[in-house]
Subunit: 154 residues, 2 copies
Amino acid sequence: MLKNIDPALNADVLHALRSMGHGDTLVVSDTNFPSASIARHTSVGKTLHIDNVSAARAVKAILSVMPLDTPLQSSAGRMELMGAPHEIPAVQQEVQAEIDRVNGTVVPMYGIERFAFYEEAKRAYCVVTTGETRFYGCFLFTKGVVPPNEPDNQ
Amino acid sequence: MLKNIDPALNADVLHALRSMGHGDTLVVSDTNFPSASIARHTSVGKTLHIDNVSAARAVKAILSVMPLDTPLQSSAGRMELMGAPHEIPAVQQEVQAEIDRVNGTVVPMYGIERFAFYEEAKRAYCVVTTGETRFYGCFLFTKGVVPPNEPDNQ
């Protein structure tokens, strides 16, 4: 355990988040996503885990330390439902709420078609799988920057 | 870079700090300390780095996330000067100030004789070497706990 760091962020996840730079992407996946096979293509090369919690809970932990990229429109994507690309299921609504909370404003996630998502995911820095059992609990986040001269950036 | 995390904590150091549990110890060493040879005996097995900064700056970064153990008397040790075990050189005074700041009270570090320090260091979880060039910039910290139900521990 560490002070001021969400305990859901284990050592391997923290290592990956700290290693990522501006523009690198991270996948948060549900339990049906082919995490292991896709993660082999990523920079980390193996699956990372925030087990036994919902996608929204995992996203909350990740976004507590990882800055999202700007423009905000392109920094958070969701896997589109096949045949219903504009439908936002509850699992995605919950994650949207976490993103909005950290942004302090409402910026809807962009949609990514399922197979396009797989290809994008292979180019990610890492895949963090979760305990999310609901379908389409798959998201892609682009890392932003922490500006100099902030209180915690001495 | 991550939000709310000192940028001096690189990915490998963060990984080690998060992996440590209650009672595990961490060495902060100066540039003359035999870090590489001693680190081979530690749990991590290789030297970790917070390069190019003073011991106090590195300790500030580490203690921004790592809780110290209680009782406070035994959670921070310093390498004693050979022939002057009670003398506190400037490099140790600066680190003491960082410890006191995070503790919110003054609790002097305990002294460890040089060769005893080497033996203690081999039993540590890890060795974090710094850019500290002054002699006796070597310290041993014991990790404490983060209690449940704190704001960042949901």
